[in-house]
Amino acid sequence: MEVKELKEKVKQVLQKYQLDESVLVDILHDIQAECGYLPKEVLEETSRGLGVPLSRIYSVATFFKAFSLEPRGRHLIHVCTGTACHVRGTVKVLEKMEQALGIKTGETTSDLKFTLETVNCVGACALGPMVIIGENYHGEMTPETVGPVLENYN
């Protein structure tokens, strides 16, 4: 996306919230949904538009795990590392995942296809190890099923 386009999106979101800085987290959520992530220019524009210091916006944007200041993949992978999934062998699944994608947890593949993250329990412990890709839940994962599951996404 061009910087100009990004700034236009920021403007629209700020207008929707009537420049109310008390809902900064919601604003950042919407902006991220529009722009995919929170690039520097976008945070600067948000700061200017709301009249809130950039330092405060940076503080909030880096505090919540839901925000990303780096580009993210089209598909967001969450490997559950909660207690139940851990006991059921999630460590091996995560290792295989990192190996298959060639990235570490928290990173994004260079073709911007996948971003790999972990999560602590998604409430489906009986089906662990759980892997969530986008909106889809994949249960009873093993290192062997990692490859085939990833093939469903392009």
Binding site: K40, L43, P53, L54, S55, R56, I57, Y58, S59, T62, F63, L69
Partner: protein, 243 residues
Amino acid sequence: MVKLTINGREITVEEGTTILHAARENNIYIPTLCENEAVAPYGACRLCLVEITTARGRERLVTSCIYLVEEGLTVRTDTERIGRIRRMLLELLLARCADSEVIHDLARQASVTRTRFTKQTGNNKCILCANCARTCEEVVGVAAISLARRGVDREMTTPFNEDFSEVCIGCGSCAYSCPTSAITLEDTDGTRVINWPHNQMEFKMKACSVCGKYWAPEKQVEYVARTSGTPLSDYDACPDCRE
């Protein structure tokens, strides 16, 4: 006025006073580290904790620099439990800030001589109290730095960790407000150097047109002129020579 008891002594203070100030007014000592009157109460270091029993009989541990006095409140500032928790806090702080004189002093006062935790390396004086950032925003109005990230990655820094801050005016309020001297300031012939936990910034100082003394960073002078709506030429001479 509000009546309360601290360490068995009945005292009366104005409504809206914190327990800490009520204690100080009555010469009762509570150790503090991050408390700073110039900015809004925040409660980062937890060293000022006290035990309270409310008028309704509820017992709690609270940070006295934030908690406001209540009618009928009973406060204890030096129980065994508080001592135990405070010593633990100091051990943690000692591990985090091995180079901080202030923390060593507070630890010594509480008879803490060593820490069982792994000592942190790198810039190890910052306790993440945000006094610097809050002074910069609340008092100066610039907001050049802030706390970023969370958990073990939390740090005091500029937006995007940039080495140079466009907005910083070099006033040094952060250094003055830092309880542990994690931020330092040094003026040498015409230049001011401010060391933040993550970087270093240099500022050109303005020389007085009369006595020639360097009296403030140029950027700060420009900022003062701009925000007060006065012409920059008003600031050619230093405050001493301006009389």
